[in-house]
Symmetry: C2
Subunit: 320 residues, 2 copies
């Protein structure tokens, strides 16, 4: 018999997740990721227990060693007996090949440890997408009592801004030889970093990457101004674990600094982004579910030059 949990069923699964049952956590996240009708119930049942976990975002260009850094951080956190959840987010790929690959590599090391939960999230283009699924998954891990949740995102672009919106502490990972100096500025990752990680620090050029970062900081191009937090630059060789202890210290120092009031501000911002994403997804659904698909009709008229897009948008909103 297939189990079909209703609201009370979800409540029971949440209770099991809170006792540390990994399968219950995995099931809740599946509901969230699949944007199942149960998503709302999962959100309602986990909200009262959330707010305790520290949320650390980690981003950087492909090839800098994000996954290796995550794995090293997980090992260090486990050595300190802290329970850690990892959400690997792949904002653009509908087929998650890369994310699954990363999972397999990392699961090998931590697969049998109940204090670690690792999951790739893909969104397959649903309404609300990442903006709704990631906070919901985060809330599941938070309610399940994980002390720290790492959110890893691939790449450069809008995704980082989302990560910075979700995380209490945002790590930007760079590496020498990736053209990351000016490219980092170009990609706009500087202003979102709470901590810079210069990985592959045993390679030529690592010192130059650090100098470039420090220089850009003195030019006032990075975050940090509000409240006087200046993002530290931590050199690591994630593959050997070198510098990971220092990185953990930097994260903890930033978390302590946040407690001065910035934490409340960031968490409200996170909640605002989530509520807005859910509300906008509902509006979008109305655009396309209305009789005859109002959006399609508007788009055809605009594409044919019969109406400009602003006038079309006005008509679309009037039709709601």
């Amino acid at each position: 018999m297939i189990e079909r949990p209703g609201f009370s069923g979800i409540g029971q699964i949440v209770e099991r997740a809170r006792t540390g049952e990994v399968r219950a956590v995995a099931r809740l996240i599946s509901y969230v990721e699949g944007q199942s009708p149960l998503l709302r119930e999962v959100a309602a049942a986990t909200t009262p227990y959330a707010g305790q976990a520290r949320v650390v975002g980690l981003t950087g260009s492909p090839g800098v060693g994000k996954s290796t850094t995550v794995s090293a951080l997980v090992s260090a956190l486990r050595a300190a007996d802290r329970r850690v959840g990892v959400l690997a987010v792949d904002p653009s790929s509908p087929f998650t090949g890369g994310a699954l690959l990363g999972d397999r590599i990392r699961m090998g090391e931590h697969a049998t440890d109940p204090g670690v939960f690792i999951r790739s999230l893909a969104t397959r283009g649903q309404l609300g997408g990442l903006s709704a699924a990631v906070p919901a998954a985060l809330r599941v891990l938070d309610a399940a009592g994980f002390d720290l949740v790492l959110i890893e995102t691939v790449g450069v672009g809008q995704a980082e801004l989302d990560i910075a919106g979700l995380a209490d502490t945002t790590l930007v990972v760079l590496a020498p030889g990736m053209g990351d100096g000016i490219q980092a500025a170009k990609a706009g990752v500087l202003e979102i970093a709470d901590v810079f990680v210069v990985n592959k620090a045993d390679r030529d050029g690592a010192a130059q990457v650090s100098r470039d970062l420090r220089h850009m900081q003195t030019l006032g191009l990075s975050r940090g101004a509000p409240g006087g937090w200046v993002a530290p630059i931590v050199k690591t060789v994630a593959s050997t674990g070198e510098g990971i202890g220092e990185l953990l210290t930097a994260i903890d120092e930033h978390q302590a600094w946040l407690s001065s009031g910035e934490l409340v501000r960031r968490r409200r911002r996170r909640a605002a982004a989530e509520v807005e994403a859910i509300a906008l997804a509902a509006v979008r659904a109305r655009f396309t579910s209305s009789a005859g698909d109002a959006l399609d009709d508007a788009a055809a008229a605009v594409a044919e030059g019969k109406i400009d897009p602003y006038a079309a948008a006005d008509k679309l909103l009037d039709s709601l």
Copy 2:
């Protein structure tokens, strides 16, 4: 006296842009980028003249040589006496340092050529942002009679999906030694490519990148299935112009293929994304402009665990 164009003023500027006056084009794009109150008037005045330009999107990871490829393409297009507009889009940076740098480099070569218009667009986080500004700028160049508009975006992630939505033809640029093989799959760029460009093809590993791409295509991981278009893989050394002629041929072949009906479909999709972005921006503006900022209140309640985000979104929508 400062000129303050109203609707009829905008119409006159559009007329001047259509006669090839570069300053008029630049002014219209400034209105669009600055999300000025004139944005609507610019859209209304350019819509009737739009729809002729071919739109080519170009994307790839930092460091693969996107800007060099754009510059080489512009030279080749000018040699064929085709007027070309370039929009360099930097989706994440509020301070456009990199984009401006790229401008200066490229403007040097094409600055005195009235058949070329190059502009960086940044969005500074406005409502609607890129999703509204880029199609509007594109429409200006289209109405001004540019035969082809290149849209270049930095990075990996959501931005490419937007580019693929905007462009008739999407080029994905890769280069050897960037870990681009599997990383490309991870970043989800494969399924948006109409043409693959393996740049820096004179370096070690270029043949391997091509082989990896071809292999992934045989696995069915790339776009192409609908209508039988299989993205060709063109090897280039953009810095010397090698392979750029072949790239232009591949673009033209794709454009010819589009004429079979896919072009209408893609342009409707582009218009739908634009209209939706404008309408959603209007809804977002209502969330935050309502008395007491309904979204802020909702976010605070969610952050404190008093209400779940779905219930909060329902209340927010009811308040409209």
